[in-house]
Each structure stands twice: as structure tokens, then as C-alpha cells.
């Protein structure tokens, strides 16, 4: 039947998808000194994809996604320090904790305009930053929690200095969670999210329980961002206040703007571009690279994402 075939086809894997993932998995072996940056990219890509679920698919403008990342990071750190150095358990606990935060925080983004949502999400992130700062007996305050040592991945592979194990660990988690997200957005549930994003009024008028759906996706996204935070701590051995910083949320939005929202791979592409750009720029101007980042953002918005990446449209003026 034609209708069903068309719908199914949009869910099928494009040919370049396995290529991308295989290439990613091959790099730490073929180019070992890139292992560390692959690890960073994988972590930030996971973080970006989790925001895409909320921003690109549900239409919620959030400036405080770092809250979940940070909670995941600190949970993993505290779990390792006080309970067990097993990274897998720590990861699961961190996901659970940040999903819970997502659940609680979701009620704050259900109503209000874009501005109030921006504020409220920012506020939640700032509250967590303050808490992490002030509860220094738990979190180490401005020093953070350092010197964490985790047991081997799958009981076999120890984290080592080259970062190869770390990068595979992060890539593995990214892969699994990415495909969970992919399943999610191609399902009826995902379609109802897009309906909510496109026209909330109509979504209600066709029987979609808008609030319930938003709560669910915010919870899921929170958990995923928490996973990214946990990976960060587990592959670097420390957690500090920096994980709650505003610039993390801001960088994330930049990645999604570059990569595009609403197609999941936007987060991945954006993460790759962002990290490589950051790497290149900060080796040139280590202290002031945020200036060039800001400039890039300004130009990107003014010129428009589509036109920026199609240089031939620069010549012709006019809309």
C-alpha cells in the first residue's frame, strides 16, 4: 500500500548513516591522537541531540540545558566517590537522576511565552549552579570533585591516557542513545511532538495531551543530557562547576543552529563542526576565542544558516 510504504521509507536508514558511524568508530584506531577529540565530540553530540529533542522536535526554547548535563556529571562523580567506581552503574544512576530533574523541571516549561521559558530554564540551571557552589561539602565547591578513578569498561578495558577506551565508551553510549532517540522521533509519539511544535492549538484539538507529551520528552531529554554529563566525568576523572556554566547551554544552541534542528543528525554535525572550530580557534587565540565564536553566531544569524553554507547565494542580493 502506497501510504504505508511512504511512511516506512522515511524511517529507513539513509546510505550515509552507517558510513558516518563506521568512520567515527574507525578513527580512534586509525588516528590514535584524535581519540581524545573524538571522545569530546561524542559527548557533546549526545548533549546536543538531547537538546534537539526538546528544541527541534517539541519547540521548547531552552537556555538551561546545562542543568541536566551538570547533574549527570556530579551524580556520576559522587557515585564513584561514595558508592562504586563501576562506570556503567554510575552512568545509569546519573541518567536516572537527570531524568528525574527533567520530570520535575518539565512542569516549568509547559506554559508561558518563549521569553518566560527561556528565563525559567535559565533559572533552573542557575539554581543548580548556585547549589553546587554553596553545597561545597558535597560538591567540592569551586574546586569540584577531582582525581576520580573508574573501573574498566565492560570489566575489560581500562581507561588510559591515550583516550582510546574513553572514546569507544562514549561512542558506544552515543550510538545506543542516538538510535533510541531515532526510534522515538519516527514513532507516532515523535509525530505528535512535531504537531505540538507546529501548532499547539491544533494538537490539542485533535486529542493530543500536550502537557503529558511535553513532560515525557523533557524527562527523556534530561536523562540523555545527564548521560552526556556522566560520560564527561567518567572520561575525564573530575567534575567542576564549569559543567553548569551558561556557555555550555549557549554552545549547544550554536551547534544546533549550525547543524539544523529537527533531524537529530543536526546535533551530531553541529557538534563536529563546533568542536573542530573550537580546537582550531583556541590554538590560535586561546584566551579570546569566544570573540570569534560570537562573531560566527552573529554572522550566522544575519546571513541565515542556509545561505551561509551555500556560498553561491552570497552574490545575488535580495530575499
Amino acid at each position: 500500500m502506497q501510504a504505508q510504504q511512504t511512511l516506512i521509507r522515511s524511517n529507513r536508514f539513509r546510505p550515509w548513516e552507517p558510513v558516518l558511524w563506521l568512520a567515527a568508530l574507525a578513527i580512534p584506531v586509525l588516528l590514535p591522537h584524535y581519540a581524545l577529540i573524538v571522545n569530546e565530540i561524542a559527548i557533546v553530540a549526545l548533549f546536543a541531540v538531547s537538546l534537539d529533542l526538546v528544541l527541534g522536535y517539541a519547540g521548547i526554547v531552552s537556555l538551561g540545558h546545562a542543568a541536566f548535563f551538570g547533574l549527570g556529571a556530579y551524580t556520576a562523580a559522587l557515585f564513584c566517590k561514595h558508592v562504586s567506581p563501576d562506570p556503567h552503574l554510575g552512568l545509569l544512576v546519573a541518567i536516572a537522576a537527570s531524568a528525574l530533574l527533567g520530570l520535575a523541571a518539565s512542569f516549568t516549561v509547559l506554559r508561558g511565552s518563549d521569553l518566560t521559558r527561556l528565563m525559567v530554564t535559565l533559572g533552573v540551571a542557575l539554581i543548580l549552579l548556585e547549589l553546587a557552589n554553596k553545597l561545597d561539602w558535597l560538591t567540592g565547591g569551586t574546586d569540584g570533585i577531582q582525581g576520580l578513578v573508574f573501573s574498566p569498561v565492560l570489566g575489560l578495558f581500562e581507561f588510559e591516557l591515550t583516550g582510546r577506551v574513553a572514546s569507544y565508551y562514549s561512542l558506544g553510549v552515543l550510538l545506543i542513545l542516538f538510535f533510541v532517540a531515532r526510534r522515538l522521533v519516527n514513532s507516532p509519539f515523535g509525530a505528535t511532538l512535531q504537531a505540538i511544535r507546529d501548532n499547539r492549538l491544533r494538537a490539542m484539538a485533535v486529542g493530543i495531551p500536550v502537557h503529558a507529551r511535553l513532560v515525557s520528552i523533557y524527562t527523556v531529554a534530561g536523562g540523555m543530557a545527564g548521560a552526556a554529563g556522566a560520560l564527561f566525568t567518567q572520561t575525564s576523572g573530575f567534575a567542576s562547576l564549569d559543567v553548569f556554566e551558561f556557555h555550555r547551554s549557549a554552545d549547544l544552541m550554536l551547534m544546533l543552529v549550525v547543524g539544523g534542528t529537527g533531524w537529530l543528525y543536526g546535533g551530531v554535525v553541529g557538534a563536529i563542526v563546533f568542536k573542530l572550530m573550537q580546537d582550531a580557534l583556541s590554538s590560535i587565540t586561546p584566551q579570546y576565542w569566544t570573540f570569534w565564536l560570537g562573531l560566527f553566531l552573529v554572522v550566522l544569524v544575519l546571513v541565515g544558516r542556509d545561505r551561509l553554507f551555500k556560498p553561491w547565494t552570497w552574490i545575488r542580493r535580495g530575499r
Binding site: 528544541l55 526554547v61 537556555l63 512542569f107 516549568t108 506554559r111 508561558g112 511565552s113 518563549d114 521569553l115 518566560t116 527561556l118 528565563m119 525559567v120 535559565l122 533559572g123 533552573v124 542557575l126 539554581i127 548556585e130 547549589l131 554553596k134 551558561f246 549557549a250 544552541m253 550554536l254 543552529v257 584566551q287 579570546y288 576565542w289 569566544t290 570573540f291 565564536l293 560570537g294 562573531l295 560566527f296 553566531l297 552573529v298 550566522l300 544569524v301 544575519l302
Partner: protein, 291 residues
Amino acid sequence: MLTILFDGIAYGMLLFILAVGLAVTMGLMNFINLAHGAFAMVGGYITVLLMQRMDVPFLVCLPLAFAGAALLGAVLERTLYRPLYRKPHLDQVLFSIGLVFMSVAAFDYFVGSTQQIVQLPAWLKGRTELGEGAWTLGMGHYRIFIIAVCAALTVLLQYILSRTRFGSRLRASVDDQRVAAGMGINVNVVFLSTFAFGSGLAGLGGALGAEVLGLDPTFPLKFMIYFLIVVAVGGTSSITGPLLAALLLGIADVAGKYYIPKMGAFIVYSLMIVILLWRPQGLFVRQGGKA
């Protein structure tokens, strides 16, 4: 306790002057401008640098701070902001974040990242105390000055809005841009002058506030949330709304940090979230008006 109240009022009035430009431009252009704090920073640095490098007296620096920030605002509005009015909020947020990053890094590069010290003129230093015991009211002279200046500006703003033709054009444009344009009001000019004026006020606020709030390149980031609180809680359809919100915020912040220092800023953020959840359109929005 009265001193806390007094300090809170001074802080609140300062926040109001800093944020009122943002409230008006948000209500007018429906543009979320997170870079508003950068204009305040510009005003602050103009003041500090003129005082330090060229020995310009403090009082003279204040109008210069206003003028400098206003000029910058006018230029940026015409060139960068205007093409973005129709764009989705996300784009506007990103754009203004980009500007913030640029300004923070630029000031860091040219002026350095240390806190700037403002040498107040002698007649502004000092303190007067009234009352005794628990009811002592300690009033720093500089804070009295701030309250006076800000109160005067508030009266001036209210006068402009309600008594002048520009004010009525502005209010018409806020209410309904298309109708206003259809009535022959040059909306572009209204936008430009309002944005410039709002940025100028921010600059003035930055100059006034340098001594009280501190001044370093991270100023726009540190205080962004406060300006946004004033606008979100106070609403964008009047100036009394943001005024009340700013006073509330100022007092809550000062009191919170004094009485519960461990949880100082925490109180403010939680309060903000609670208020926004209770009244998503802001606390002081008039019925039937646009929030």
C-alpha cells in the same frame, strides 16, 4: 532592617534604569535582546576610563556614558538588529548571545579582566544614620544619589510616555505596529530612537552601578538574568510593572544575601520561577494588554 530595605530600594532602582530599556524594546519590537547588558557595560567602561585616563569628573561622565551607549545602540539597531525583527525568537537569542560573547571578549582584550574601581567624588562618599538600635536607617550617600537620579529619570520617562507626542507614538507602536504605521507613524524612527534611548539608559545605569555592582568584562553575563527577571516579571506593557518588579527583585536579593547568605541567589531564582509559573505573562500586566 531598614538599612536593608534602603539598600534594596537603591539596588532595585538601579536595576530598573538598567532594565527599562530592555522592557520597552521587548514590548515594542518583540525582540529578545540578551545583549542589553553589554550596553550597560559600555557605559560603565566609558565612565571608568574617562575618569582614570583623562581625569574627567564623575558627574560629567554620567551623561557621556548615556550618550556613548545611546550612540552605539542607534548604530547597532540600524545595521544589525533591524533585519532580525521578523526572525524567530531562537535566532534573536542566538544573535544577542553572539554579541555578548563578542563584547565580553573585546573588553577583556582591550581593558583587561580585573574589576574596575570607581573613585567617587568626596561628596558622594560617606553615610548618614538615622534612628537607633534595630530601627537604624543607614543611608550611604552614594545610594541616596542613585535613588534620586533614578527616581528623577523614572518621572521623566513617565512624563515622556504619557505627555509627549513621541510617547503616544511609542505607545501606539507597542500596541499594534501595523495600525500605527497605517496611521502615518514612522515606526522605524520610533524603533531607532527607543532602542537608542533604552541603550543609553542602560549605559547610564552601568556607569552609576559600577561602584555598587562591580564592573568587569563578564558584567553582561552576570546580570543578564536580573534584567530578564525584571522584564519577565514586570511585563512589557508599562513602565510601572518593571519598576515594581525591579524593586521587588532588589529588596529580595539584598535581604536574601544578608539573612541567608548561604542561599542568597538561590532565593531570587526560585522566586522568579514561582512567579513566572503562577503568572506566565508577568505580575503586573494590565488586563487585555499584550504581555
